[in-house]
């Protein structure tokens, strides 16, 4: 599989948010924990809306969570 050109810091942000689990994050933004895992692993790029929701959970801006690497 070709690597997606969008990297992210979600694993680190979850750690800094008191070891928030993938399931917790998924519940807060309406995603399954497997989808959160796929995003963290770079296997899935979320929609813009989901990306904003993830950033909002951590109180960060979009570019503090996601980085374009294309």
């Amino acid at each position: 599989m070709a690597k997606l050109p969008i990297a992210n810091n979600i694993r680190t942000l979850r750690f800094m948010a008191g070891e928030m689990t993938q399931a917790d994050l998924g519940t807060r933004i309406g995603m399954t924990r497997q989808t959160i895992a796929a995003i963290e692993a770079g296997k899935y790029s979320p929609t813009l809306e989901a990306a904003f929701r993830i950033a909002q959970v951590f109180g960060k801006t979009l570019d503090e969570v996601f980085q374009w690497e294309g």
Binding site: M1, R11, G30, A41, Y44
Partner: protein, 165 residues
């Protein structure tokens, strides 16, 4: 300081998550299709060409009975498999589909549509010139089974390989 997920393996990132419920469901569906209709087509393949290519008396009921058995086997496997995976991960089973699930479902249905269309064109527009009788009926059924397998195969590949279109 933030670290990038490019330093992290996919296995590490996915360690908490496990196999998605919908991927497990697709595996169960594939098993049901392969065992049920695989058995049906294995029996059909052993029939003499004069039977399968014609319309001998009594064949309608026999083939219908065989197809019914194959469908029941498929449904039993799917029912038991679905109950098993729901019991093993009830929270995942209750969770509504998210955007990734919907993207995968859409892509797999689109691919299955083209497989089905190809099969139907062959069955409906080519086979009447080269075959007759039950061969055409079974070819149509085979096209449906192949299209379904293409759909479930795409679902499995998408969840495992990160292929969403």
């Amino acid at each position: 300081m933030m670290t990038d997920t490019s330093d992290m393996s996919a296995a590490e990132a996915g360690a908490e998550a496990g196999t998605p419920y919908r991927e497990k469901s697709a595996w169960v569906a594939v098993a049901g299709m392969v065992v049920g209709y695989g058995g049906y087509f294995a029996v059909i393949a052993t029939l003499p060409p004069q039977i399968i290519g014609g319309d001998p008396p009594g064949m309608v009921l026999k083939l219908f009975a065989l197809l019914t058995v194959a469908t029941i086997v498929r449904l039993l496997i799917m029912g038991a498999g679905t109950l098993a995976i729901r019991a093993s991960s009830p929270a995942d089973a209750r969770a509504p589909a998210d955007e990734r699930d919907r993207a995968i479902a859409g892509r797999s249905a689109a691919i299955a549509y083209y497989v089905m269309m190809t099969g139907m064109v062959l069955v409906g527009m080519v086979m009447p010139f080269t075959a007759r009788g039950w061969a055409i009926t079974n070819a149509a059924l085979f096209a449906i089974v192949v299209a379904e397998l293409a759909r479930y195969g795409t679902i499995i590949a998408a969840y495992r390989r990160g292929w969403h279109g």
